[in-house]
Symmetry: C3
Subunit: 674 residues, 3 copies
Amino acid sequence: MVKKLFPQVDGFVHGGDYNPEQWLDRPDILEEDVRMMKKAGVNCVTLGVFSWAVYEPEEGQFTFDWLEEIVDRLYENGIYFILATPSGARPAWLDEKYPEAMRVSDRGVRNHHGVRHNHCMTSPIYREKVAILDRKLSEKFGHHPGFLMFHISNEFGGECYCDACAEKFRGFVKEMFHGDVRALNHAWWTTFWSHCYQSFDQVEPPYANGERSVMGLNLAWRRFTSANTIDFMKAEINAVREATPEAMVTTNFMWLFGGLDYHEMAKELDVISWDSYPRFGNDSESFAETMGDTAFEHSLMRSMKKDRPFMLMESTPSLVNWHDYNKLKRPGMHRISCLQAVACGSDTVQYFQWRKGRGAFEQYHGAVIDHLGTDDTRVFREVREVSDDLEKIKGALGSLPKNRVAILFDWDNRWAINDMMGLSKHTKNYETTCVNLYKDLLSLGVDADVIPVTEDLGVYDLVFAPMLYLLKPGMADRLKAYVSQGGRLVATYLTGYVDEQTLCYLGGFPGDGLSELFGVISEEIDTLYPKDRNGMRFADGSVWEVQDYAEILRLQDAKVLASYTGDFYKDQPALTVKDYGKGKAYYVAARGSRAQQTIYLKKLLAACQIPMQELPDGVEYHERYLGDTCYAFYLNVSDQEVFIPHIEGENLINGSSIYGTMRLAPFEAGVLCK
Amino acid sequence: MVKKLFPQVDGFVHGGDYNPEQWLDRPDILEEDVRMMKKAGVNCVTLGVFSWAVYEPEEGQFTFDWLEEIVDRLYENGIYFILATPSGARPAWLDEKYPEAMRVSDRGVRNHHGVRHNHCMTSPIYREKVAILDRKLSEKFGHHPGFLMFHISNEFGGECYCDACAEKFRGFVKEMFHGDVRALNHAWWTTFWSHCYQSFDQVEPPYANGERSVMGLNLAWRRFTSANTIDFMKAEINAVREATPEAMVTTNFMWLFGGLDYHEMAKELDVISWDSYPRFGNDSESFAETMGDTAFEHSLMRSMKKDRPFMLMESTPSLVNWHDYNKLKRPGMHRISCLQAVACGSDTVQYFQWRKGRGAFEQYHGAVIDHLGTDDTRVFREVREVSDDLEKIKGALGSLPKNRVAILFDWDNRWAINDMMGLSKHTKNYETTCVNLYKDLLSLGVDADVIPVTEDLGVYDLVFAPMLYLLKPGMADRLKAYVSQGGRLVATYLTGYVDEQTLCYLGGFPGDGLSELFGVISEEIDTLYPKDRNGMRFADGSVWEVQDYAEILRLQDAKVLASYTGDFYKDQPALTVKDYGKGKAYYVAARGSRAQQTIYLKKLLAACQIPMQELPDGVEYHERYLGDTCYAFYLNVSDQEVFIPHIEGENLINGSSIYGTMRLAPFEAGVLCK
Amino acid sequence: MVKKLFPQVDGFVHGGDYNPEQWLDRPDILEEDVRMMKKAGVNCVTLGVFSWAVYEPEEGQFTFDWLEEIVDRLYENGIYFILATPSGARPAWLDEKYPEAMRVSDRGVRNHHGVRHNHCMTSPIYREKVAILDRKLSEKFGHHPGFLMFHISNEFGGECYCDACAEKFRGFVKEMFHGDVRALNHAWWTTFWSHCYQSFDQVEPPYANGERSVMGLNLAWRRFTSANTIDFMKAEINAVREATPEAMVTTNFMWLFGGLDYHEMAKELDVISWDSYPRFGNDSESFAETMGDTAFEHSLMRSMKKDRPFMLMESTPSLVNWHDYNKLKRPGMHRISCLQAVACGSDTVQYFQWRKGRGAFEQYHGAVIDHLGTDDTRVFREVREVSDDLEKIKGALGSLPKNRVAILFDWDNRWAINDMMGLSKHTKNYETTCVNLYKDLLSLGVDADVIPVTEDLGVYDLVFAPMLYLLKPGMADRLKAYVSQGGRLVATYLTGYVDEQTLCYLGGFPGDGLSELFGVISEEIDTLYPKDRNGMRFADGSVWEVQDYAEILRLQDAKVLASYTGDFYKDQPALTVKDYGKGKAYYVAARGSRAQQTIYLKKLLAACQIPMQELPDGVEYHERYLGDTCYAFYLNVSDQEVFIPHIEGENLINGSSIYGTMRLAPFEAGVLCK
């Protein structure tokens, strides 16, 4: 099924953030912009991300003419636009007149005017002011032929501890427990340290100088902040849709940002888009590793809406200005990273930003046009090359991956793990554990979806559930049903310790009936110091090094696949499998080192009959399908040339026909259509 | 003299914190608890540490029935109880109604409700509310046949900078100087930086954004905080004693906690008890080293009341949940650490806690009964083995060590050293210096008391006074008297620089007449950078490496035992002795490395005719005496088997008779009765 | 031209801070002080730095008699005095009565009474109280025959965010933009992130929880804080000059302190003085390196008033008490460091302090007289030796260096660089880059002036402008004029990116026309990770290692002297020169490693015909001229003896006549008069 995001656009969307309001006194530059956009192959820009102060220089005084002129000219020149709502930053008059709309810190102190993302998500007056402007923008521009979609606010995030938020939080908690404070006290185990609440009125946010020792409260606060932000976003969506009910909406997500439950947020959006700023060329890992992290993030974003492509809303054509070290992308890095996004399911390549501003915080953030102002630069040339690449593979527009493997990834779970008092705060690494698993699968040519725990598992042959510490209601039953119907499930140490309120299960972990599924009970979990090592030995003698965590299991009715090689639990089970219904439930009781993870993954994939690819080191492989047509992306993410055997067909990128071995230069990509 | 703490209990107290109020809706679990306690050999539990919210769910509404039922059943089953006062954590209604009872930070901001230890020690209303409940508890439970003692609050600590505390502090300072502000100005040297006070009304606590450059003020604040906490504790003791004037009281101390002067606090208590949570099995030091630290702490606690045993009030049977890395105790570690406590003078082995709670901050703190809920676990078995061990050595109940060596350790001194502006903040290490000295003595088989500076020194053959920077009034004379009457005293660099208000002595360090005792004057003190090294060479050519600090001495009438090997003070005296009266006064002018400290200690002990033990590496040795009977504890604190020669007698732990060499497996103990 | 600072003093000023007010109850000590000062060769003391509380114990009650007695006695004994105004620390009554005079933090919280430098620079009442006292001091002591000069306050520094300061800041900004808020918005590029100001009333200081993302605002705040402090200082100068219009004034600067623009401050002073506290003997660098840093600082201070010597107002005769490690100066270090100050242009050697106080923050800061109280100490002897040295070279009094090389150093530039968002916050290192350049020149026997960017450049043969990121108005033209008239100018990467408001130049860096001067345009700047390395190869094959930063240049009409050795810009220009008018403009596009910097400097100096000296390792060389007489200072800053060839003349320090080679012992100095 072809699902093009923007049928009116011929080809991939290629463009980025454009802030013409910074150059209104320079019409020469605004003209030059259009000329150079066309030369660069830009067919879409994102407007208005931080334009509030220009739209509404004084309260209730609006000016949109300047932008109308710009979008008209852009459209005349074949350039579409995405329109942002400007709620991410506020004009000075607003903070001056309505200080209650500024955020309050976790110590109860209200911010001053300044920076971005400084608004209370609860504030009625702020919501009102935002809605007024959003409606006007929608009326003015939502029907323009160049209009593609709304970009709601910018990189949502952050918390507010003001009194209004605290009051709303109390309501949120009360509703969560259906008004039953005894239910709250039980679920949060408040009898501990005498923390019982007599009424919901006593519930406070977890102030830095207040209550931070009740994990259920901490988790509720994160859920509330997420829900309140989504509520704010929905209010904006409602506002823009008054005039344009059919308009598509997105908001730009950020990598593995932990502050908001993106899975919940995604439900309100038509398309997923995100901002990708990897630390390319850093000196602590290879480029391939950095690219692998990004591939995980692409997969996470893509898997939020599996029936359509996602958008790479922001990226830099050269460098950013807020990394620890702001190194230039080496020649070729830009093209390969853009093609990776497409390979992973993006139908857009967009930048922050078109032209560098002259001052303030982001004046040195890379852009297509530098302060130099010309189009004969290295960066401009590489952007132009991306246009050419996209044109060559535009047949892939609207295609989608078909992955047989999934990794569960869940915000509630990461919040609960990161907040739990136990194990080691230095080595919990839930996120990294998921990312590394994804990367090691990818190194075997197996791409995986990274999905919410609530997703239908039945479509996958193999599901990984790393560190599934917190079980949402019904989760255990869903896992059992999946396996009994033939699924293969891999769980690990730290599975099923707590329910959705972080209350520990009694009677043995993994709880809520999962010990029956896996046929094991975890009696103890050992946290290893950084220098400590153990191992798990498989029947064939191979050993997987163990570090950080090791559970000591009581074997019930599972089969042992590997046993510990050392310490006082030597020879006890470390990796087990149980046949359950038509499927198999694996339990990996310890954290294996990354170095040897593929040894175990190969065994597992072979057992599950998932096909692997033989890829040279440094080659990343992804597929997108359009009906039966497969677009196969081979990305050389190394600085060496590579030779990929058994290739037949045309490399769309350079038009070469290959019969046998495909050679790729450093950072070069090959895209075949099979 | 036998001094049993609890004559009614047959044997060592074995048990721990028990929080049945968390399980009142699970009578099956409460029943199971009693059955399993008996199986585990538990004969005592500590109740009510955090039960305020259950005792008094609304202001003035009290319920104690639930606890009566529990203590009755426990007693019927042979289990005694220690009753805590619950002042360590407050119910929500109290903070809601009396916010002035919550603490104020060093920046003047009042906390929100939450966590523990969040009360102002001065607040009259808080004291009143606590006293009401304490009295009721005492009335209800203080005469119960199962009642053993009161456990006042929990792990006292922390500061409050509220206005009431500031006002009380002014009164404290005024009294300290008998109302003479000129005396204050002189003692605190306030003319410096124009900091003179015109009146006591101007004195403020050392706010983080206030006055922190007057060392006398900082020290006064620490003394005040300590005194005010003791005053609070005394108010609680008075309250519980209204109904039970004879009831014994303790409070649980914490390792080397610096916030309160435990020596002052001890005066108000009947028994010393403390909570021990070493980082066993960490990867930066050997298990023997970790055990040595704990032995020092046991000695410090024991020496606060030398005429009776102390109590190990809390420890974990498996792991804790708040270390950086929460590793399991390896098999055997638990038994050996419990026996160490007894070897060092404890008559109890108690845990936090009996059963793991299901939620919040401590849900993963080790306990005898895990969330699994069964008694067939490794941890339960090891707890049961401790019961068996204690039964075998119960003849030692009430016995006490007889140490000939003492180390002075003083809170005022550590506060003054840690706050002084000079030397290097990275290497002052007063506490570690004392601990390492203790450990190196112990490695030679010499156990030492760790005593307050105010203690009678005459009972010791050898007294170490490491880094005795601050001299309390009369201290210098007491040291002189001790030596002149035949004592051997070892002082070091940084001795006698300041008086009790941190005012420097004029005329040469060590001051207040001590330079006459030691026969040396310290002209300068050199602070070495971490990579700097020097050495001190003894007459026999052996060299003790010097690091961190080296004083340059003016030799008066002492004899030089070792001289510096390098730098511009090469060949100048580094270690001296002076015959003074019937005794000897040693002065160690530099910090020797730990690696070679025993070289010097052996010389010294030999000179003082203190007998040493030849112990294999990894064996810790302690003695307890009951009249002339000596219980000798050999603890194998290594993970290797060891062979101890020249042993004759029965090992009470395993009943074996030994003539010659005693073999101990890793973590095994041998206890002989001589 | 001889410019003696104090014609009435016979010889160099030798002395230091003296706080007799701490000893008023000890007349014996005050008498002893005078005796020992004379013995030590002290001819001047600095009085009253923190004496406010003694001068004015209650508001409006003044007592000066005690000080009159002291200055009379000092003068009778040949000892002059410098009189400080005591505004650096306030009496308690003042803070009690006028809390608005205490500082407010960047989070808007007012400090409590305490520490030093805790006053609002704006507060009218504080200025009034200070002025009253200053006038009285001036009247009482400004005409005393022993009086030399006023020392205004002490080590000015710090910020205040109170409402009065915020209001004054608004006025400052308004004036800067001549009341045109649109000019502000353009200059600070506030359209970015919607930060436009509608009126100057909306401008706030950059609170920590406020606006910190507008670089122009941040820079304005630094300029304001500097200007407001200078304004405060001028008010004090005006006050003391009412009674003594001719009195000289200084204030004591601090090393490379970044908080205040010392170049602006210097304009209000008669003499520059500073406090030098190097970390001598640390274990991360050689003594020579530490001395080199100090030489840079001396040069920076001296170059602020090139027509007269400066003053070493504070230094320690032994150790300080606030370094991380407070190590003793090794024998000889004190003498060589004092002679270095003189060699670099100081006509004084002064200490903090004469006698150690007994308590509080500075009780362990080194002093000439220790708590021991005697004059037979090592430290006293070394101070006496300094007196002797100064006597021997007193012919050099009033002499001045004549340097042909200058390094530009600018506060606005460092503020702008350190605040810019880009490059790497870990490696910007503007200050270190300047210091290292100075030190590497010095190692070739070439001393440099370190001058403000506004200084006349025409007097120099060679001017270095390292990292001249911010161009003040007219700067580009002045550089062009300098070169066109025959000057040699060396600029580096990061030159000319922004104007004085931090607004980026358009059309290519270096901006404001400088790309024409250098004949290059910087297209991109690459920030390297710490492990990354590149190189630049010269025509002769020598390679200078490159790290941290490398610009990629568009060569216009410059000549390439060295090219990159690696990475994607291999063989592109890395170091260029352009003949411009009668001079040459060099552009060093990358940061070279220090290890090989002298390779390039030798080439450059040779090309510019600046004579170098052949010095053995560890010898520092400085010259001072009195008319045609040259005083040549050879300082052995190593702990090895050194032999300096080709020397002829008398070493004034030891009176030896040298024909050929001069041997200097470790830390020894030779001073020749040529």
